[in-house]
Amino acid sequence: MLSFTVRSFFQKLVTLFFISIISFLVVYLAPGKPSQIDPLNPKFTPEDLVRYRKEFNLDKPLYVQYYLYYRNLFSGQLKSWKDNQPVMDKIKERVMNSLWLFLVGTLITWSLSFPVGISAALRRGSFFDRFSTFIAYVLISIPGFFFAYILIELVVRAFNVPVIGMYTFGMAKADFIYRVMDRIWHMVLPSILMALGGIALLSRYVRAQMLEIIHQDYIRTAMAKGLSADVVYYKHGLRNALLPFVTMFGLILPGLIGGSVIIESIFAWPGIGRMAFEAILARDYPVILTINFISAVLVLAGTFISDLLYMVVDPRIRL
């Protein structure tokens, strides 16, 4: 077990190293330049350009830039090219904003997917099964921002509440309870939207998994023992069907950054996804690379955690 952990850890480190190289190359080798060093930019004199090039280390060979970038990242000295703020501080603030959406969205996803998926599997071919299947496909197939606009229109018309942004401007002095309600109203739509796609995918997966399990021999054995259908499905079946999902707890981590660009843009939510988008627009290489690096770290940490969890929950796996 320990040797597996250590080996897996080092494997992830090596992977991370290659990721750092590839993402660095992708960003630095792409045609076009940040506006500060673009010779066509009328705002800056040629002297400014030289100064910026020097400041951003762009005058040095590629491998030196790579080294300097990651040195600064790990020593916390990395600064945004756009506003010269420390990158990590900016990211921290934005991640906290995204975290709320992410937590609520994930909670909705996980608490709805399982009942839906399980009942669809147990009543295979029933109206509920076919209906939920169809809805799941619709949710997977609809362009996210189109759906968001439909919902915004509906909610704004029906309840006449503001939904864009994180809170209503000028509410800072209102009563506590109003402020809370305001926050909740602002969070409902984006978190539901973040959850819906997840529910569609996860409930399909739960259904498939459950269908697989209820055809296993040990389910028949449990039936032959005289257990009631509920005990058979929810004790003997679910326990097995849940195994792969325990590991998925690890895999939802990267969703914190990857899955929110469009939704945060629609709702003007000052989160990490929108920050990434803004950084791309401004060609703020340090911010782009750092977000990319962090999300890769999250993916790797997620798979690492899920490997460990699997060993804990599945008695068959002992390494």
Binding site: R220, K225, D314
Partner: protein, 345 residues
């Protein structure tokens, strides 16, 4: 003697992509108290479906029991409410399956899985049930059972798992044990041990066994009565003596002639021509007709019913009055479906 389990005209169908498949097509069986009935047939002939029907474990959909009755102590199991059926499963009728490897739940310890049945059917506390579990594991020959109850299935060998399955099926002292090919997935040496174990447990408790197998040797050693199944029907049934020394159905005769006999060299082995028909398109009339050496006009016209030819010995063939092993020998002398030694070498 009054039979403890009686199956009358049982019919089971499966809805498949290709249409309705008659997996069991009107069979009758009787199991006497304390006796062992061997149910023999090729794979796909409906043996397992028959077993599962007794406990109403046919996966539905696609399967469903379309007719007949299964009488256990005079009660029709097919008409019982679910709640009562659950009380019979595991308590009055225990069952063990062909695949011990996959028939135990991988995420629970074997102790938990056996305790579960005991606590379900007998009003026992957890510690009493555990004690019982240890005792029954000991009885089925699991070494150091007080340690093994904490083991997970994957930590045991196939033979051990089948012993655990037997322990689980017998933990409530059922009247009937249904054993669906209990040794097929096991090594030959382990097979003998398991059969021996079943035999000794039967002697001890006086339970009845329905033993499903495709191995005639196993039946000869274990059963007192035999039913031969072919294409969803019983084609011949009787006591072991009747079937083994005086088979009267061409299929049974074919089965026996296809078994090599130890110590006998140079003889020809018979091969039943063709293969098992598809349940979606059974031939009309007698289902064995296309493969039968004695097929005649009558066989196409009419499916022969299972008729008594001697006391307690039934066969489903229009000519079973005239066919026996001597007639068979004459007939196969001239047949070409033989594997002779030259072809072997």
């Amino acid at each position: 003697m009054e039979p403890i389990l009686k199956i009358n005209n049982l019919k089971v169908c499966f809805d498949t992509d290709g249409g309705l498949a008659k997996a069991v097509d009107g069979i009758d069986l009787e199991i006497t108290k304390g006796a062992t009935l061997g149910l023999v047939g090729e794979s796909g002939c409906g043996k397992s479906v028959t077993c599962l029907s007794i406990l109403r474990l046919i996966p539905s959909p696609p399967g469903r029991i379309t007719g007949g009755e299964i009488l256990y102590r005079g009660m029709n199991l097919l008409a019982l409410p679910d709640r009562d059926m659950q009380r019979i499963r595991g308590n009055d009728i225990g069952m063990i399956f062909q695949e011990p490897m996959t028939s135990l739940n991988p995420v629970f310890t074997i102790g938990d899985q056996i305790k579960e049945v005991i606590m379900l059917h007998q009003q026992k506390t957890s510690s009493e049930a555990e004690e019982l579990t240890i005792r029954i594991l000991d009885k089925v020959g699991i070494p150091s059972p007080e340690v093994r109850i904490r083991a997970y299935p994957h930590q045991m060998s196939g033979g051990m798992k089948q012993r655990v399955m037997i322990a689980m099926a017998l933990s409530c002292n059922p009247e009937i044990l249904i054993a669906d090919e209990p040794t097929t997935a096991l090594d030959v040496t382990i097979q003998a041990q398991i059969l021996e174990l079943m035999q000794s447990l039967q002697d001890e408790s006086g339970m009845s066994i329905l033993l499903v197998t495709h191995d005639l040797g196993v039946v000869a050693g274990m059963a007192s009565h035999v039913a031969i199944m072919y294409a969803s029907r019983i084609v011949e049934s009787g006591s072991v003596g009747d079937i083994f020394s005086n088979p009267r159905h061409p299929y049974t005769l074919g089965l026996f002639s296809s078994i090599p006999v130890t110590g006998k060299r140079g003889g020809d082995l018979y091969v039943i021509p063709g293969s098992v028909p598809d349940p979606l398109s059974f031939p009309e009339g007698c289902k064995f007709r296309p493969r039968c050496l004695f097929a005649a006009e009558q066989c196409t016209a009419e499916e022969p019913p299972l008729r008594e030819i001697e006391e307690g010995h039934k066969a489903a063939c229009h000519f079973s009055k005239t066919i026996d092993k001597y007639v068979w020998k004459e007939k196969t002398k001239t047949a070409s479906f033989l594997i002779s030694d030259e072809q072997h070498g």
